[in-house]
């Protein structure tokens, strides 16, 4: 790093976040690929993709001078290469090792954020231990390799260098004149090459450097001859030079190249008469060898054989192995962008061009502005209506339609498939199951279901907890399962789908289910339910979400610390979502999380009660029926019932619920709301129609208010409250007491109500 300039440093500071986020994606892919490989060991496409991911991380880390990452990834790559070449099989132990290495890599990349952070001795030891295990694993392959070589093989003998752990290549690189101007620094590049292995000899060929008076200081005239002791393949070595490849004379000689090869190398570079001397000086070959080589070459030429171009020689020499062929094949597939390439590989490598990376906060600020635009647009439309000028109203209506389209389009930008979050759990399930000695088949359904990015981010933790819980408490040990006539392998399914404007995430397991007796006993013990009182079945299950509840008989480090489920519920409710648990004892349980698609703007249905305005999420509104006040007598909480097509519909009165002290009009409307599997009605005075609702949080004072999920500012500047259809539904079904606070306090002080 010390050789970097200020400009380099500032570039690195700017580009580093992008590197980190990309590296993290690669690491994520690595993990997914490793896990996929466990199900399909030996899949060459997956192995190749795996190798590419690791290589990309190493390559870009090299550019940023992250030596720790480069050095460590190098060892991982060596092992992956062995796997790819089929010299090694991916055993579960090896897979675990690679996953651990991936974790290490993740840590290292995270550390890259502050470059100066010193490593603790413990971290160093840990990494050294991993490297040792990697080398041991890779070395194992060498031994196996040597063994097969020793056996009389029918195949042509592999390159002799394969028997050693490291191989000494010879690299000859003449940098093009434009190298500096293209922003490349041979010094940094050579440092990167050092990361591939060790460089026992390096000579800078300065023959082409002109004296100062004839020098263009920004043109590069440097050439290098170096030996490179590495396990890396030809493709990797050449890859190191990929950024300067276009104007760099690069020749890579296989380990064990004969003096004739060097001779041809010299021939291939006619404008460098001193190359022979340099090669000798660099220790690549001895002078005697070189002269012998040159003589052979000349004799061959004299005998009439045309000297073949170096490239051809390199590819036909005995030492050229599968690596060269692979490299060539890789290039071909890349160049042709074959559609036939298997989906995994294509998904990982092919899609790059079709995406733009945008910082999330830029998007957020656009969405904030959009919220303001929606409100301002509504205000303008209102004013236009008041003027009663047809053309103005029409113009405003047109603007309104456009705003709505922009709104939908912009919110769509924030939508991400939930599958990425889901697939993170593969690893959790794998490790947790292994730790608990359970055999678990993990299934993901509906990973393509999209929802708002901020929701996705905030749902990950609660989901993690629920998944762990299902593994820990839900699924039984294999022996226990077999004893109950179930397959030994437990099944855990994570699914997602859209359902009437919200997303439903389900966590399904076929474990022992929830033991109602034990839940109840615990609830009595903890005083969550009055001793001896037995609530209805579904309410018993809900108790597991109460604070301070835990049924685990032994506290494991995975779950069972009693801080879990109530936090899960709170987190989900903070996202305006709900969580419900269903369970059949002995058959398994199902946890359903219902979340709104977005947290920012919804389509609302605006209604008025007295002087107050309320908004229902439009998706929840089924129909509106007309009614008369005083049709039925309200109960103590102001609930009534009406008959709707032969069925009894509970109806809530906003007046009673929130203590609005205005007289009820003669004719009222009942808005029929569907919440989950129930329907209920809400009595309102006037229907004000569809309304684009920018959701603002409630002021702190009103957060304890039940049945409200937020507020919104109308075009007129009035504040409307957004109703939480689920909690109102529970109230309608009589499951909880009504909201306690009077809304009258709120009516006087709109300003304090909204916290924006």
């Amino acid at each position: 790093m010390s050789q970097m300039t200020d400009a380099d440093n500032s570039f690195i500071q700017e580009a580093l976040p992008a590197f980190i986020s990309e590296a993290q994606e690669q690491i994520e892919s690595l993990e997914q690929l490793l896990l996929q490989l466990e199900d399909a060991p030996g899949d060459s496409e997956l192995l190749n993709a795996l190798f590419r991911c690791a290589h990309t991380v190493k390559g870009s880390a090299g550019i940023f001078g992250l030596d720790r990452v480069v050095a460590f990834t190098h060892h991982v790559e060596t092992l992956l290469d062995k796997l790819r070449e089929g010299q090694l099989d991916l055993t579960p132990a090896l897979s675990t090792l690679l996953l651990q290495c991936n974790d290490q890599l993740r840590t290292l990349v995270a550390q890259a954020r502050d470059a100066d952070s010193a490593e603790t001795a413990a971290a160093l030891t840990e990494r050294a231990a991993l490297v040792e295990r990697l080398q041991a694993a890779a070395g194992h392959a060498d031994k196996a390799d040597a063994a097969t070589e020793a056996a009389p093989a029918t195949a042509p003998a592999p390159a002799p260098a394969n028997t050693g752990s490291a191989r000494c290549w010879h690299v000859s690189a003449a940098f093009g004149t434009e190298t500096f101007r293209n922003g490349m620094d041979p010094l940094a590049l050579l440092n990167y090459v050092r990361g591939l292995g060790s460089v026992p000899n390096l000579v800078c060929d300065i023959a082409a450097v002109p004296p100062l008076d004839r020098l263009d200081p920004e043109s590069c005239h440097l050439a290098f001859e170096l030996g490179l002791d590495t396990d890396a393949s030809r493709a990797e070595i050449e890859g190191a030079f990929s950024f300067v490849r276009d104007d760099c004379g690069l020749h890579v000689l296989e380990p064990g190249a004969t003096p004739e090869d060097y001779a041809r190398l010299i021939e291939a570079m006619p404008d460098n008469p001193r190359l022979g001397d340099i090669l000798v000086a660099s220790g690549a070959i001895t002078r005697a060898q070189l002269q012998h080589g040159l003589r052979t070459q000349n004799e061959a030429a004299a005998a009439g054989a045309t000297a073949r171009p170096l490239g051809e020689i390199l590819q036909s020499t005995s030492g050229v192995s599968a690596q060269v062929v692979n490299a060539a094949l890789n290039k071909q597939t890349k160049a042709k962008q074959r559609d036939a390439a298997p989906a995994t590989a294509a998904a990982l490598t092919g899609d790059d061009g079709r995406f733009i990376r945008v910082q999330a906060d830029r998007l957020d600020s656009v969405i904030n502005l959009l919220g303001e635009l929606v409100i301002a647009g509504a205000g303008a439309a209102l004013l236009a209506r008041q003027t009663r000028q047809g053309t103005l109203i029409e113009a405003n209506a047109q603007i309104g339609r456009l705003i709505e389209e922009i709104r939908n389009g912009t919110l769509q930008l924030r939508m991400v498939p939930i599958g990425e979050t889901f697939s993170r759990f593969r690893r959790v399930v794998r490790d947790t199951a292994a730790e608990l000695g359970k055999d678990v088949l993990f299934d993901i359904v509906g990973g393509e279901t999209e929802l708002d990015k901020s929701v996705v981010e905030r749902i990950a933790d609660p989901l993690m907890h629920l998944v762990r819980n299902a593994l820990d408490h839900g699924l039984e040990q294999p022996a226990e399962r077999l004893a109950r006539d179930k397959p030994g392998q437990g099944k855990l399914t994570l699914s997602a789908c859209h359902e009437s404007g919200s997303i439903v995430i389900r966590i399904l397991d076929d474990g022992r289910g929830i033991d109602r007796e034990r839940v109840l006993a615990r609830a009595w013990e903890r005083g969550l339910v009055e001793d001896g009182v037995t609530p209805p079945d579904e309410d018993i299950l809900k108790l597991i979400f109460e604070a301070g509840f835990s049924t685990a008989e032994k506290v494991t480090n995975l779950s069972g610390r009693g801080v879990g489920m109530d936090v899960v519920r709170r987190n989900i409710e903070a996202l305006r979502g709900t969580v419900t648990v269903y369970s059949d004892p002995g058959e398994g349980s199902r946890i359903e999380i219902r979340l709104p698609l977005t947290l920012a703007i919804i389509d609302g249905f605006l209604v008025g009660v007295g002087n107050s305005k309320f908004i229902f999420p439009l998706e929840a509104v089924v129909e509106v029926i007309e009614s008369r006040s005083g049709v039925s007598t309200p109960d103590a909480c102001g609930r009534r019932v009406v008959e709707l097509r032969g069925r009894v519909l509970p109806v809530l009165s906003m007046r009673t619920l929130y203590g609005l002290e205005t007289a009820e009009p003669e004719r009222i409307s009942v808005v029929v709301i569907k919440s989950g599997s129930h329907s209920y009605g809400v009595m309102v005075d006037v229907l004000l129609g569809q309304h684009q609702t920018v959701i603002k949080p409630l002021g702190r004072m009103f957060q304890s208010l039940r049945g409200m999920s937020g507020s919104s500012i109308l075009g007129s500047g009035e504040v409307a409250l957004i109703l939480d259809v689920n909690s109102l539904g529970e109230f309608a079904a009589g499951k909880q007491s009504g909201p306690t606070k009077s809304l009258e306090a709120a009516n006087g002080g709109h300003k304090t109500l909204v916290r924006s």
Binding site: T5, L187, L190, R194, V209, H221
Partner: protein, 124 residues
């Protein structure tokens, strides 16, 4: 170390040296464009402009203690200076190269070259 003190002791005897060239803190692609004309002027002002000096090697002193950043372009400029001096029958003497310059040279395979530029003065 002993070698270098000998060098500096030999300095006054090494005679009509133009004032030593001080290398800047930054010897990289970002400064070479600026340094090149300066160094050329310095080169022109040196004793090689007077061929009467004859074949005796004349040292060109370069102060290298201040170098804090190097890259290949910067080192190439230094190399080029040495080549130009050699053409004029002079040798480059790099005084007290900083650690950065040393490691930069080593990384570029110029370790022995640098060593030669440090000791050559002693020979003269």
């Amino acid at each position: 170390m002993a070698k270098r003190s000998k060098t500096s002791a030999a300095l006054p005897a090494a005679a009509p040296v133009a004032s030593a060239l001080a290398l800047p803190a930054e010897l990289t692609i970002y400064t070479v464009g600026e340094l090149h004309p300066q160094w050329l002027t310095w080169l022109g002002a040196g004793p090689a402009a007077r061929p009467a000096e004859g074949p005796t090697e004349v040292q060109a002193e370069v102060q290298a203690a201040a170098v804090e950043q190097v890259d290949a372009a910067g080192l190439q400029l230094l190399l080029s200076l040495q080549i130009a001096l050699a053409e004029r029958g002079r040798s480059l003497h790099i005084q007290a190269p900083s650690a950065v310059l040393r490691s930069g040279c080593a990384a570029l395979g110029l370790g022995t070259w640098l060593q030669a530029q440090m000791t050559e003065g002693a020979r003269a």
